[in-house]
């Protein structure tokens, strides 16, 4: 059969989304919407006292790329520490999916942003300043590019 616009990995995650659903007792929830196309992505995290993502679920209203991006993102962050998931970039999601069409890159950006929003929510619930998320992200980024 002729190849469609999406990679096999994208099609796999579209057809068999991982970690789809909600977490009732989630202690971090992030939702982002894309005004360009109306997509909505919602991520639920259960983070334990050691700062490890014990469970993660997602719900997405969107195209094949949006569904696959959120599904892949949940796989990439499950069992990881908060510091690790903050280091997750949209490019890592794109790479893990075997690429996305240029017009659909924004779907992976949404997934990264949904995780970021969830972590902000995590700190707000703990009574801490959510600005720490942005700060930690910047530190991780500058550390990653520090060698240059």
């Amino acid at each position: 059969m002729a190849k469609g616009p999406y990679s096999e990995k994208v099609m796999d995650h579209f057809m068999n989304p991982r970690n789809m659903g909600e977490i009732d007792g989630a202690n971090a929830v992030g939702e982002v919407g894309n005004p360009a196309c109306g997509d909505v992505m919602k991520i639920f995290l259960d983070i334990d006292d050691a700062g490890i993502v014990k469970d993660v679920k997602f719900k997405t209203f969107g195209c094949g790329a949006a569904i696959a991006s959120s599904s892949m993102a949940t796989e990439l962050i499950k069992g990881k520490r908060v510091e690790e998931i903050l280091a997750l970039t949209n490019q890592a999601i794109v790479d893990a999916l075997g690429g996305l069409p240029p017009a659909k890159i924004h779907c992976s950006v949404m997934a990264e942003e949904a995780i970021e929003e969830a972590l902000k929510d995590f700190y707000i619930r703990k009574g801490e300043d959510p600005a720490i998320v942005q700060k930690m992200k910047e530190e991780i980024k500058s550390a990653a590019t520090g060698g240059n």
Partner: protein, 394 residues
Amino acid sequence: MAFLDNVAGTKPDSRVVDKMLPFITEHYGNPSAHFYPLGRESFEAVQEARKNVAALIGAEEEEVIFTSCGTESNNLAVKGVLKHNDCKKKHVIISEIEHFSVQNPLISFMNDGYEITKLRVADNGLINLEDLKKAIRPDTALVSVMLGNPEIGTVQYNEEIGRICKEKGVLYHIDAVDGAGHIEIDVNKLNCDLLSLASQNFYGPRGAAALYIRKGTKVASLMQGGHQEFGYRSGSENVAAIVGMGEAAKIAKEEMHIYSAEMQRLGKRLWEGLANMFDFLHFTGHPDRRLPGHVSFWIEFIEGESLLMWLALKGIYAASGSACSSNILAEDEEDLQASPVLTAVGVPDDVCAGSITFSLSRYTTDEDVDKVLEELPGIVTRLCEMSPAYNRGN
């Protein structure tokens, strides 16, 4: 496989293909080469096709100009009228749901000081005839309002539109690409001066289309060169495709009343099955004044591309007007755009609305309709379960 995207082009009739093939293999002469049999045969084949296309729409043979596609026919109609030296008028009226090939050629004219009035349509897709009467001015050169809309199926009151234009002495063009070969067309009854039709939409091949130009209507040529197509369209004819279009027109004239009735029956079955499926499924377009076998709707909470992809995985091929599915080959998300036709008929701003168009053909069967009615509930339920919007609504 249930192929239900016939507005994107139908499967060519095998009789059409049989008729075409010799004009690729043996009869390869150029129709302009009148003085040897090989050329003369091609010329006569093109004339025969012209006769059949003319007969399909009640026109005279010399009023039919062959082009390469519906887009070219619409361009020739709109630009050809405005660019003619004798046309001093600088106002055009179209409906807001015209095809891109009518709307986009007008953009450059707007930059040159022309004025375009876009008539609003009601939620059922129909323009208001009173609006049209009011919009016509002394400097109105052309009215272009389509026959059937490929996305929402609505068929305009073309005869009445034509009568108004005739009374006011304004040229009337009909983009009949969707509808020709399925609905009876008589250019005199429709009171139109120009009418576009495309072979691929009524079981002919791609690569051939036509523009009807009423005798005496002044239309400038867009392609200059030799004298082909009475000077309206220079360039060596695509003989095989034109022959195919002629054969498709001949078959349509004889058989369309049979297959359109059957398409209408199947479309009604599909419509009724969908109507009972979900209370958050909303039909688009007019309930009765529709293209035969055209069923269009949108579903709340879910997105069109996801729907299309799941339908395709189940062997059902359809179309969507959602932004996400609009231009997958684009270089940038900025190039994704929800269908202006859907927003014009009141589909909410949620630009990724789960819109679907099923367009049936003479080859569609009861089994195809059954397949959609069997598969769609599972697909919709699955996508709803995944949708944060669905939870919120319940």
